[in-house]
């Protein structure tokens, strides 16, 4: 491998000493070629046409002191050495035109000469690998020393530096801990998701879509992403949180995009709107699936062009905001049904994260209990704790089949708040837990009852044990199957009702067969259904 250095002729440093005294001065480019543990096979010397005579002296001195080194002069335009744009393009042009052979030559980029602007440009070009090498920095000898000074090589592949790498890692860990609200969560899927989100939050300003059931923590997460970005200097403005479900009709447009005075009856004052308020900051649109189609159209334009038209205005206003959307609905389905714009969806779901329900990461129940307790204690400035048996009882209930947690972390938050409020002297006892368990069981059975009400009673068709093992979704499907069979005169007819879309794409239809298969799975026949 040959060693090739790319260096700007130092019109100040390489000129040091009058022509006669130059050997008593440290001249970086020459000293670099005299190092006892570095042989430079070729030096690419970038010079401005006005410095030709200096370049010739330097070239001659190098050839004399370092016969191994071939010096190639390149005339480049440094007429504005302190103008970033001009210097950068000059150096970029050089790097583009240079025929790098990284398999045969090692490149060192000398950053001690040239203006500071040039040094910064060399750094940037090296970091972006336009100049595929390491940096070399030379430094003068200590006072009165007769040596040729020192040099250091700097590899910008930072992963090679243990200290820096560990600091990056620490920062990354701090970021993820932050996004988790300081909760030491155990669920691997969730932790992986948060790690990913941490990197995306810091590196990207593109929209993020948070999906997940109510109470899974979407708005908390959005808020933490905001705080993290603000802490790292990625945004300056404020966090504007909007629940789209609360926006209805005419007022929705106005609330989001603002209006001019007199835009409609009652518009007595100008209103900037939430999008304008989020300028330079972050807009969190929760329940975005609830947004009306008109608002969706406006929002799409606001995201794409950072511009929108307030009600009654004749001129567009602009707002540059980062966006996080939240939804508990299947937006793809909403798109299919025509309730949600497909182009908007593709614009907001560049980074999509699905937050698991509490039930799906039940191992995180314990750390979240601790977190909620601490939060409550801080808020009320009191000492709250479980006694040991109480905590175990609550945890085992939470983990059991009964612990449905349909409202997810919102349920947990409310539950802890209730128990903490009821303590005497800040101790949550078994009695308090027992009472709370009753409350939760009631609440969840009601919600299940509510969910079950539209579908027909399936207990007549299946035994209790089987039903208990079935998801709510499966129960609903089953009730639809029963309903269809009731309506139909034959299995084939039931099949035509149940598979009305998919059967059309099949070459041959055996509708009765598909129905029979399902019924067999549940151990019930068409005739039996008809008879019940």
């Amino acid at each position: 491998m040959k060693t090739v250095v790319i260096s700007i002729l130092g019109t100040a440093l390489d000129r040091r000493g009058s022509k006669r005294n130059r050997w008593s001065k440290w001249r970086p480019t020459i000293s670099m070629c005299q190092q006892e543990d570095l042989i430079i096979d070729r030096l690419e010397l970038l010079i401005d046409a006005r410095s030709q005579s200096l370049a010739d002296i330097v070239t001659e001195d190098i050839q004399e002191t370092s016969p191994e080194t071939e010096v190639r002069q390149h005339i480049v335009d440094f007429t504005q050495p302190w103008d970033f744009e001009s210097v950068y393009s000059t150096l970029l042009d050089f790097s583009r035109s240079y025929n790098f052979k990284p398999d045969r030559e090692n490149y060192l980029i000398h950053i001690t000469t040239g203006t500071h602007v040039a040094q910064i440009c060399l750094y940037l070009l090296t970091e972006t690998r336009h100049l595929p090498g390491k940096l070399i920095q030379t430094s003068p000898p200590s006072k009165d020393s007769n040596s040729t000074g020192e040099y250091q090589l700097i590899d910008l592949d930072l992963s090679k530096y243990d200290q820096i790498a560990s600091r990056f890692k620490k920062e990354h860990e701090e970021g993820t801990t932050y996004l988790k609200g300081g909760i030491n969560t155990l669920n691997a899927t969730f932790n992986r998701m948060i790690e990913h989100l941490e990197q995306v939050s810091i590196r990207s300003e593109e929209p993020i879509l948070l999906m997940g059931p109510t109470g899974a923590g979407k708005s908390q997460l959005a808020q933490r992403v905001y705080q993290l970005r603000k802490h790292r200097g990625k945004l300056m403005g404020e966090l504007v949180t909007v629940n789209c479900a609360t926006l209805r009709g005419e007022s929705a447009m106005s609330a989001l995009f603002g209006h001019k005075k007199g835009a409609f009856t009652g518009a007595n004052h100008e209103r900037p709107g939430l999008l304008s308020q989020a300028n330079g900051g972050l807009l969190f649109l929760d329940e975005i699936g609830e947004l009306g189609l008109d608002e969706q159209a406006m929002l799409l334009r606001a995201i794409e062009d950072k511009q929108f038209l307030p009600l009654g205005a004749d001129k567009e206003v602009s707002s540059d905001f980062q966006l996080i959307s939240g939804t508990n609905r299947d937006l793809l389905e909403a798109v299919n049904k025509g309730h949600f714009r497909e182009d908007l969806l593709t614009r907001i779901d560049l980074w999509t994260y699905t937050l698991p329900s509490l039930r799906e990461r039940i191992e995180d129940l314990a750390p979240n209990i601790d977190y909620e307790i601490e939060k409550y204690a801080k808020k009320t400035n009191s000492q709250i704790s479980f006694n040991k048996t109480a905590r175990e009882k609550y945890l085992s209930f939470g983990h059991s089949q009964q612990g449905i947690w349909s409202g997810n972390f919102r349920d947990l938050n409310a539950s802890i708040t209730r128990m903490a409020t009821l303590t005497n002297g800040g101790r949550i006892t078994s009695d308090i837990v027992d009472e709370e368990i009753v409350r939760l069981v009631n609440k969840w059975s009601q919600s299940i009852g509510k969910n079950s009400s539209p579908s027909l009673d399936i207990t007549k068709y299946l035994n209790k044990n089987t039903i208990e093992q079935m998801d709510y979704y499966e129960q609903a499907c089953f009730s639809v199957i029963i309903e269809s069979c009731k309506k139909a005169n034959s299995m084939a007819e039931a099949g035509r009702i149940l598979f009305d879309k998919s059967r059309e794409t099949k070459a041959s239809n055996n509708d009765s067969h598909r129905v029979k298969q399902i019924l067999t799975k549940y151990g019930i026949s068409f005739a039996q259904i008809k008879n019940i």
Binding site: W23, S24, Q34, D37, E64, T65, P67, K143, T148
Partner: protein, 338 residues
């Protein structure tokens, strides 16, 4: 393949160069390990690489590990070839060390060789050209080595730019080397060689010498020479019946002329305090040429690390008896029997 542990003894560049010289002269392959182990910058430096490449050039050696920082070199010498060689060394290395590494090998051939060296000639870290010419080569003459040298330009550190030639003739038969007595002093002189530095520096050096060592005006020499860069070297010379000794001190930035003079004077005084003819620096340089000739003996003023190291290297590559016997406080008898 003979394995040399480069970290032994002086543990620097000398053991490496001596191994190369003997490998070429004896036609033996060597593997030098742990080169400059434990040094701040371990492994081969540029000047060592220069010597290695020069050695490779004159004998078409098969070499592996010829890289900066390499701590292991395998050197398999081929056939020595006389002729004209040009070695551009640059300022970091020293032309004289390259010369000392290769001349014994070229002298073994039936034809003369003409070497041209470019780079440093007086850099303070290696014997100067003047030391080679005035002190080293006359003793080589006693051993049958016949080398004519001629300088065209001086090369000081850091500018370099020196240029000199050496014509190496086929080695003559010579008697057993014997240098036990100095003989009477025939002449003595102080020589300042200087370029691109104010003349008062050289005059102050001579004046300072004159205070400790009365020299007649004709024994004091100021040589203002042409050189690419600035430089100053003071050389004190004693010409005796059996030997000429040269003591040098290099002028450096930040070192006063008086200090430079003192450094040289101390060496002369130490030498004169002993009766041994061979000074510390010449002693280790004599050994390899002696071992390649009929052997012999000499008395020297010091048992230096370099001397001991060279003895060890020679013993590893040759079947010779070498002994050092202490005769006095600054008086050692070195005997080498082939």
């Amino acid at each position: 393949m003979i394995i040399i542990d480069g970290s032994k003894g002086e543990g620097g560049g000398q053991i490496f160069r001596s191994s190369l010289t003997l490998a070429m002269c004896l036609g033996k392959s060597v593997r030098i390990e742990n080169i400059r182990a434990g040094r701040k910058k371990p492994g081969l430096l540029r000047q060592h690489l220069t010597c290695l490449k020069a050695a490779q050039a004159i004998c078409a050696a098969d070499v592996s590990g010829a890289d900066l920082g390499s701590q292991e070199v395998i050197f398999i010498p081929g056939a020595l070839k006389p002729g004209e060689y040009h070695f551009a060394v640059g300022s970091a290395g020293s032309t004289t060390l390259v010369f000392q590494t290769i001349f014994p090998a070229l002298a073994m051939l039936d034809e003369s060789s003409e070497l041209l060296f470019e780079g440093g000639t007086h850099n303070g870290m290696a014997p100067s050209y003047d030391f080679i010419r005035e002190c080293f080569l006359p003793r080589m003459q006693n051993l049958g080595y016949c080398v004519d040298v001629d300088i065209e330009a001086y090369g000081f550190y850091p500018a370099g730019g020196g240029r000199w030639r050496a014509r190496i003739h086929p080695k003559q038969d010579a008697p057993v080397f014997d240098l036990l007595e100095r003989g009477v002093v025939l002449s003595q002189s102080a020589v300042v060689t200087q370029a691109k530095i104010p003349a008062h520096v050289a005059r102050r050096e001579l004046a300072c010498i004159g205070r400790d060592w009365p020299l007649a005006p004709e024994q004091q020499h100021l040589r203002f020479v042409e050189s690419r860069g600035p430089g100053n070297i003071l050389s004190l010379r004693l010409q005796m019946q059996n030997i000429s000794e040269v003591f040098e001190s290099i002028g450096e930035r930040g070192v006063s002329a008086e200090r430079v003079a003192q450094n040289a004077m101390i060496q002369v005084q130490q030498y004169l305090a002993s009766e041994a003819p061979v000074g510390e620096y010449l002693a280790d340089q004599l050994l390899i040429p002696m071992a390649l000739s009929q052997g012999g003996c000499f008395r020297t003023t010091a048992k230096s690390e370099h001397l001991v190291t060279n003895i060890a290297v020679i013993r590893q590559l040759m079947d010779v008896d070498i002994s050092i016997e202490k005769l006095g406080s600054a008086d050692y008898l070195v005997s080498l029997a082939v």
